[in-house]
Symmetry: C2
Subunit: 467 residues, 2 copies
């Protein structure tokens, strides 16, 4: 890729950019922890300074309705003229919590580069991917004195808590954020030698359920065997969430699941799959299990799921405590596919739960974010430009995949009425949301060059389908 | 009870004894927490000083094989002569953990007396019950200059962690501990107006199970739906532990359950039971549920149970974390009745588990104590002496009950080859092992007087059945 726009520039800037990456990763911008709100703000301010330094303008922190100060960052460069397309780059600067901390090989906020990988919380999800977009803009400005498109950045601070105020922000700032095309930098590809791009992301409905079966924990000798047990109740509920074929038992759950488009089916058919490699990348799981009648690639991309992400009740300390637990809870992350609707699925879950919790048991359901599944029109010329940019950098045409993860992309596309392109360099072994998250640096540098190639191609296409 | 041996003495000593109770309860002797070992030792030293001060001799801390320093306390007074029976009083000075701390109305180790109740961790289980035995001995020595029996105290420091080294201690110290009868002060009665005494305690087998389905937590979007989920697996295991009739599904679990003796059946038949009151005492549980075909009184006393005391896996913090948990665990306290055997039941549990955990999943089972169920011969003359002492103090003959709780009483009776009497003043509403544990002070004073009456009657009976 020596002849591409930003190849030489990126080589010359390698040390500076690497240091900039590590600096930003040191900020523990965990949006889920209320006591990290200052760090999320610090991360936003750090990014704002970097955007200004790169040559972007109108840099501004956009507070959200959270009241907790987890701001998004906006910046733009709008000198490409009215006939050039306007491109909005989306990413996020907040990160996931880091527990279990003792499984990290190095501290999550003391980034290191080992074996060509950058290891830190946020390395790939998503600071690393935002940074190569930022540096691509800086590089084009440095090399050519201008950009081929009108460029906007919108980098969120609440993505890891379900982008709870993001749609409101999009609505409030619709004019400033208006764009002809959106580039999302928060996804992955199948393998370095099998480049791919996402054309759909799953939606997400999170629910937190707590039950209380008594005013307080009871002595298991005095009361055990005669009174309800909250820990047992949540176990029964979680166990009942799937049937023997690993199908979700919530009535109506699958009603709106749409069939794949033809290009997606074609990509799925040729997508390489090696079960041993898949299991190895998944941290060495001893076997695979999923919805009966579908393959693992379908399980993680094209099918909806209901994953219990936590279950907690009663005593968990050393030794044993002879109690009947009075309270317990569990959390479920339901991944949705087109055309499932978050509000319908949350309602269906509540109805399912209501059928199963005995009368008299106190039950509280807290929704944790609701994100609709997103779909990109595969036939759009801008999607062809993305394919072309990826081909130029990775040397091979991308396959179209569905990303199993979830994000605010559906809202972006819907509210801003623009197609959403996914340029993402993550790999299956990147341990996203888990200890020892990493980014493969080779993918980072390719991402930087590809971001430049994409802006160049979008600029040459001009405004397509502008209303 | 004004004409009983210790009534007037106890009245005169009321302030001193109350202060002594509060002083001891201030020591957080939680045996389950490794970092509280010093406090358990402090509790032992405090008790040793009190025993010496009361007139007991040969006071000594007995270390156990734990290596953690959770000593038992021994003391004796052996001047009643060779024809007087030797009575060993058993209790324990360690206490349960205190979480959830935020449900306590006052701090667990800052004892208060409110509405005639002493509220603190250990108030009834078991410091309060040890103290009235100690004060009864002091009172008899003060009032009469001697005791009617040869008296020994053995107060354990590891009861709340399953008396893991207690049988070893009994074997090692068999000669010094030898007795004609054992008096256990660690149980309860049905109600202040329905005095009762235990003739059987359930055994206990605790198990801690952890499973690992992957090397680390996985992103629920990338892998969810295709890989095993540790939290779901433990939920399935816990849910499978009982059938629809709330019967334990472990093969062979009920094989050795013996029928009740006639006096026990007779007591059970006349034992008052008010479901509303029972539910209120159980912290206001919304309903009762237990093994099909048996009553609540049978559930908590005469039937074996398998209670999940904790279940933990995945994310439990604020909000949601979109992971597939890699590890999870649960703890089960199985209460055994005569003639179930702990080692058989533990083996049956392991076999049950082995059938249900898929190959490739790492599973670890840690046994947490094993206590056989205990049974007292109801027809023994010493049991009649206990009934008589209770009748003298509470004004009504006691019913015979089976205690749902578990303790080292089976080992005491077996190793020391002596009948075990249960003089206990706990009440169903005492919140044992739970927040806001209490002791009703009226029961404490009655316990003190009854302890004196019992020693007096045992002294008059002489050595019964001595070999």
């Amino acid at each position: 890729m020596a002849d591409l726009l930003l190849s030489s520039w990126a080589d010359r800037e390698r040390e500076r950019i690497t240091a900039a990456l590590l600096d930003w990763l040191r900020i523990p911008s965990i949006s889920a922890h209320p006591d990290r709100a200052d760090d999320v703000r610090r991360s936003a301010e750090h990014l704002a300074a970097s955007l200004r330094d790169a040559g972007l303008e109108h840099v501004e922190l956009l507070p959200t309705a959270s009241g907790r100060g987890l701001p998004a960052v906006y910046a733009d460069w709008l000198h490409a003229g009215p006939d050039a397309p306007t491109v909005l780059v989306y990413g996020h600067h907040d990160v996931q919590p880091v527990d279990p901390l003792d499984e990290w090989g190095s501290p999550p906020f003391e980034p290191v580069i080992v074996d060509g990988e950058c290891r830190a919380r946020g390395a790939i999800d998503d600071k690393g991917q935002v940074l190569y977009e930022l540096e691509a803009a800086r590089g084009l400005l440095a090399e050519t004195g201008s950009l081929p498109v009108n460029l906007k950045f919108l980098v969120e601070g609440e993505e890891e808590i379900g982008s709870v105020h993001f749609e409101q922000l999009l609505s409030d700032e619709r004019e400033r954020l208006s764009a002809d095309v959106i580039v999302v930098s928060d996804t992955g590809m199948l393998a370095p030698e099998v480049p791919s791009a996402t054309v759909s992301m799953r939606g997400l409905v999170g629910v937190d359920v707590t039950v209380r079966t008594a005013a307080l924990d009871l002595h298991s000798g005095m009361w055990g065997g005669a009174v309800p047990n909250a820990a047992r109740l949540v176990a029964q509920l979680v166990a009942a969430l799937h049937d023997e074929g690993n199908r979700v038992t919530i009535p109506g759950f699958y009603d709106r699941v749409a069939a794949l488009t033809d290009p997606e089916s074609a990509s799925l058919a040729v997508q390489p799959f090696d079960e041993d490699e898949f299991r190895r990348q998944a941290g060495g799981v001893p076997f695979l299990e999923g919805e009966a009648g579908f393959s693992p690639l379908e399980h993680v991309g094209t099918r909806p799921t209901a994953e219990v992400v936590g279950i907690h009740g009663g005593y968990g300390g050393p030794g044993i405590k002879t109690i009947v637990p009075a309270t317990a809870g569990f959390k479920v992350a339901m991944r949705l596919v087109p055309d499932q609707r978050p509000e319908e699925i949350e309602g269906a879950f509540r109805a399912w739960l209501g059928e199963r919790v005995p009368a008299g048991v106190e039950v509280a359901v807290t929704p944790e974010g609701g994100v609709a599944p997103a779909r990109t029109p595969v036939e759009h010329p801008y999607v062809a430009a993305l394919a072309d940019a990826i081909t130029a950098v990775w040397g091979r045409e991308p396959l179209w995949t569905r990303e199993g993860g979830s994000g605010p992309e559906e809202a972006l596309g819907r509210v801003l009425a623009a197609p959403v392109l996914f340029l993402g360099v993550g790999l299956p072994g990147d341990r996203i949301h888990a200890p020892n998250e990493r980014m493969v640096m080779e993918q980072f540098w390719k991402g930087l060059v590809a971001a430049g190639e994409l802006l160049d191609r979008l600029g040459r296409l001009g405004r397509v389908g502008a209303s």
